[in-house]
């Protein structure tokens, strides 16, 4: 099998992983390559997703038989494996031409988790040691691999990740026999400890080698199993708090595998995925808690309105907010105001009182914000106290042609403040 065919098979099997970030690391040094703190997108594929890394599997062979997975043991797809030399060489050739920021290496399980991890580590080491490559490397950690091998991943990669995939133990048991919550969370917990320990060490010894400087992420598949948005967002909240994850990715289930245990979806639930990303952003950059966004009575995100607007409509007693007086934290909670425009409001009002007309110039999306703010006491919306009246107006704006246009938002490559800006609500 030639390299082109192998690449095609192994890129095809890796593409369902939503992670695309190349941010959070500023590795540099002699040799070739340097990571860029905020990450760089190099292209966007026909589905509008960013290409930042050479995202491939080492092999699509697998000893597991997870129902949702294209690489399951019983699938009859063509199987391929790349050698460490091929992986390192390809990454370097692509990187040199500025096609990519680096490598995203995942894999099916070949022979055993340990054997798989060893081969993956050999590829990344080759890249670092033989090619003196300082670009970005995102490495998947194989659940069930020996702890010593898992520990090594952080020494060579910028980011490490273990995919949870299914948001509950019950779903794992159903769709991923051979995996349990425990097998997934154990390596994640281990990595979280090592990352924290290295951070501490670096504080006192500056020269100590970096350990997964871009931290850890994970992915959840949306729509293959019955978990509610509330369960998913609560899980993410816990992962951010307890595992210090940098990102949780949500991947709308693409119904390519036929299996009686899987739901019969006609298309991937993209809008739901989009709403989950918005809610995730609210947790990470806007100071919201999962309980504020979703409660037991309303466990699903509204598909008509973004989660911040829903929250605001349920909390009309807190609005309208006077932009010349409100705190940064309060302003962040106004629909139509993102991190950047909230910062601009604070800055601009130092220079003089703001009028309603000024807000648009500061980047505020007035067609949403107008119902929730006053400037110098002036209100530009409809009735301030009627959620229904506001809803009607918001829907008019959104569907001028009676069409939903909610997929127009890219998943940002970066996750720092710049990321918050792109994901602005």
């Amino acid at each position: 099998m030639d390299l082109q065919e192998k690449l095609e098979i192994l890129a095809d099997s890796a593409k369902y992983d939503a992670s695309c970030a190349s941010s959070g690391s500023n590795r540099a040094g002699r040799g070739t390559g340097a990571a860029h703190q905020s990450g760089v997108c190099h292209s966007w594929t026909a589905d509008g997703r960013c290409v930042s890394l050479l995202k491939i599997l080492m092999t699509n062979e697998c000893v597991y038989d997870c129902a949702y997975c294209v690489n399951r043991r019983t699938s009859d797809s063509r199987k391929a494996i790349l050698t460490p030399d091929e992986i390192a060489g390809l990454t370097f050739e692509f990187y040199k031409r500025n096609y990519i920021e680096g490598l995203f290496l995942s894999s099916g399980i070949v022979v055993s988790p340990d054997h798989t991890m060893e081969l993956m580590l050999a590829a990344v080491r080759k890249l670092r040691e033989n090619y003196h490559f300082n670009g970005y490397v995102h490495m998947k950690v194989i659940p069930g691999a020996d702890q010593a091998l898992i520990d090594q991943a952080g020494l060579w990669a910028d980011r490490v990740s273990v995919n949870i995939e299914l948001p509950s133990d019950k779903s794992l048991q159903l769709l991923a026999p051979g995996k349990t919550k425990e097998t997934v969370l154990r390596p994640m917990h281990r990595l979280a400890q090592r990352i924290a320990a290295h951070k501490d060490e670096r504080r006192s010894i500056k020269s100590s080698p970096a350990y997964a400087p871009a931290g850890q992420s994970t992915q959840l598949i949306i729509g293959a199993t019955p978990e509610t948005d509330r369960e998913i967002i609560k899980l993410s909240e816990a992962l951010y708090a307890k595992m210090a994850l940098k990102r949780v990715y949500y991947s709308a289930f693409v119904p390519i595998m036929k299996d009686s245990r899987l739901p019969a979806l006609r298309e991937p639930p993209l809008l739901r995925e989009h709403r989950l990303y918005q809610a995730d952003w609210l947790l990470r950059f806007y100071g919201f808690t999962a309980d504020e966004l979703l409660d037991e009575k309303h466990p699903g995100l509204d598909l008509n309105f973004d989660p911040k607007t829903v929250w605001a409509l349920n909390n009309l007693d807190k609005f309208p907010l006077e932009v010349n007086k409100a705190s940064y934290e309060e302003i962040l909670r106004v629909p139509g105001i993102g991190v950047t425009s909230a910062q601009r409001i604070l800055r601009a009002r130092r220079a003089g009182a703001l009028k309603l007309d000024d807000l648009k110039k500061l980047g505020v999306v007035m067609k949403r914000a107008v119902y929730f703010v006053t400037a110098g006491g002036k209100y530009g919306g409809v009735q301030k106290d009627s959620g229904d009246a506001i809803k009607v107006k918001l829907l008019e704006h959104k569907n001028p042609n009676g069409q939903l246009d909610l997929f127009g938002q890219a998943q940002p490559v970066s996750e720092g403040l710049e990321g918050a800006v792109t994901g602005q609500l």
Partner: protein
């Protein structure tokens, strides 16, 4: 109206700016080539004076802040129509208000320069991703770009850090200029057309990349509108994967 002409260089522009700032009446700044004479236009050649340029810089950095200087420089690089006069109005405001000027984000004089600067910064960031090198027979890397703004000077630092000891050229074909990095030294030079001999392996690597790019799209999620938002058509002709 008095219009100061500059030769296209940043130093000459800053010289013109410093001359204009000495006048109290309204003035304009325009590039020599392409300046349009109105009925009452009085053209004055600003020349290029390092000490005047330094004084203009000091106004932004000292009376304003390093941020003001950043915005003025980036807005100049935008090469957008009216950018010179926008920077002049911004400079007058900084002269009057000092560093508080940059807080006046809703003021059109500030907003327009900040917006130009953001457009330039944004395009420069995009091109950190969009530059596509070809490996030549002598192993040097060559890339052709055609950006809207004059971002070449903003890219060189990034690629120096990235490409280590490799030799490279980035050629702005729209402005006929190039940044050349050879043997650890960076030089800017005019460059019209380049005769290139690609490395023997080049076509093979490109084919692999195109293949990867095509495969990476999930067909159930195809969204050309979103793709166009992120990779505007105007940039595609120099991108290997769209060629």
């Amino acid at each position: 109206m008095r219009t100061y002409l500059y030769d296209g260089s940043f130093e000459s522009f800053l010289t013109a700016l410093s001359l204009a700032l000495e006048r109290t009446e309204e003035c304009a700044i325009a590039r020599e080539a392409g300046a349009e004479a109105g009925l009452f236009t009085e053209f004055i050649n600003a020349g290029s004076d390092p000490s005047r340029a330094a004084a203009a810089r000091a106004l932004f950095e000292g009376r304003g802040s390093p941020e003001s200087w950043h915005h003025a420089r980036y807005a100049f690089l935008s090469e957008s129509p009216g950018a010179e006069d926008a920077v002049l109005a911004y400079a007058r405001l900084i002269k009057e208000k000092g560093r508080a000027a940059d807080d006046m984000l809703a003021d059109d004089r500030v907003k327009s320069v900040h917006a130009l600067s953001a457009a330039v910064g944004g395009e420069a960031h995009m091109f950190k991703g969009f530059v596509r090198f070809t490996e030549l027979a002598d192993k040097a890397l060559y890339a052709r770009i055609e950006p809207d703004h004059n971002i070449l000077p903003l890219l060189t630092g990034h690629f120096r850090a990235r490409l280590g000891e490799l030799n490279w050229v980035i050629h702005d074909a729209r402005r006929n200029s190039a940044a050349l990095y050879f043997g650890g030294r960076l030089v800017y030079a005019p460059l019209e057309a380049a005769r290139l001999t690609p490395d023997a392996k080049e076509e093979e690597v490109r084919a692999l990349w195109r293949h990867f790019f095509k495969t990476a799209a999930i067909k159930e999620r195809v969204n050309p509108k979103l793709q166009r938002q992120n990779v505007p058509l105007k940039y595609r002709k120099n991108l290997t994967e769209f060629g």
